[in-house]
Amino acid sequence: MIPARTSLWRAGAVAIVLAFFALPIAYLLSVSFKTKDEILSGDFLPQTWTLDNWRQAFEAIPLTDFVAHSISMALIAGIWTIVITLPAAYAILRLNVAGNWLVQMVLGSYMAPPVVALIPLFFFLKYAGLLNSLSGLVLVNGLVNVPVAFWLLTPFLRRIPIEIEQAASLDGARPLRTLVSIITPMIAPGIVATGIIVVILSYNEFLLASTLSMGDASRTLTVGISLFQGDRLVNFGQMAAASLVGILPVYFVALFMQRHLIEGLAHGGVK
């Protein structure tokens, strides 16, 4: 029995929260459809709607290439992160390989802000001949997201009853086989959630991408968008359209997979 006043109050609060979170994206959309004259009006909605900004954004910078770079880089880096992390997390938690010290080190390594590793990673890629290449970004992003993947995956692994592995082991399955054919299918939702989150992290990453990969041949979208405010000054409308090109695929995936994503994140916070 919720009194009417309480529910009214709640509805108001929900409306304010939703308005705040929707505002920037709504305005981004609105500006992307405004004509050049109207962009400086400061009105919420355009008077006349136009698609010019969307077309021109693709002409002003090689947007399609940047998106392709970002997506391919992020996908491969994500797979790379999972391949490194899953067996290690499994071995540490279930096979008693290494001890708590490794867990502490992996999670602790996430404490340092990324700028700390910026210069060393720059020289690392320089010496490896991978500076200004997508492979370099794949390598680096795949590695820096390992602690995040570890943090997200371990709660899923912890939840599996140890008896299942013991049964598998009695049946003569070796640990690697147990991991591949029993554990992996069981925690598939967790692996998918973790995979999506690390892929989005790489896709959204800016600091490392901007420093480790200059030049259009390997430029990612976030770096490409940041160029809109530098030498290739273009108007707000194109900037908005280009940003939306980068944001919408992520929103599509996020809404489609929201159940997994929320569960994946939620498990990490609460054991």
């Binding site: 981004l28 962009i39 009695l170 640990p175 800016f206 600091l207 916070g269």
Partner: protein
Amino acid sequence: MNIALGLRLPVLLAARKQDSLAATGSWRWLWVAPIVLALLVTTVYPTLFILGLAATKSTLGRPFGDFLAAQQIIAALQDSVFLSALLKSVTYALLISVVQLALGLAIALLLSSLRRTGRVLLSLVLLPLMTAPVMVGVAWKLILAPAGGLLNGILQRWQWIAEPVSFLGSPSLAWWSIAVADIWQWTPFVVILSWAALATLPDGVRDAARVDGARPWQCFRWITLPLIAAPLASIFLLKLILSFKLFDLVFVLTFGGPGFETTTASFSIWRATLEEFDVGKAAAQTLVYAIVVALVTLPVVRLQRRLEGNEQ
């Protein structure tokens, strides 16, 4: 111990033995070799490399020149612009984490009181978190811009201001602008984790308290809050760590300005590296920043451990 488990115990012990047999010997280290390698590249090597650079005259083109010992670190500690950047980074990270924790918890309480509708809203709240910080910066820049910005448009139409305000260009407002964008992006992280923590609470306790006449605030203060204290400490710790990573928003929104007003330690290091190419100076600042981050974060780690320990 129940009978079923008692019967299975010998089997379990046998399994355990076989299990550990399968993962003994030098082979077992292969399991963790990739993650150890990852740590070497992302943590151990950078630490040693930064130490080396900080102790030598180094540029982006020519690292490890003349040996300077601690000169550059001393210079960093005497550089008033850097020290102020450091102080701003720490203050900002602590304040924004507290604000986001409070706001996020409030929104999570609201959503969890709405049951099913709340769950739907939760999936929408997920979206800011998934947005690239660069794009978040662009979106807020459009709202806050002096010419054509939504906020200035509204304020002028309502005649609250006569002239457009440069939110990003004025020293007093630039930090607020970054904070609003940051709150937009990261509060959802707190909402999702707090919502999950609230979902683990049994309804019965709160219902009983309500029947006993406890007001909502009393219910929250004396029942809910103590029950979620441990997860909240974890969330605060995570948020603090994430707040120290702030860079993209500063880059897009203010570029460290006006003047050095919103120059954080991260931005100062970036500037020394990519605008001055003085990698030695940047490395010295990095070293100082890393130590400061650790000094601020570790007490929170200890607090979180203690609360978690109390719970068990």
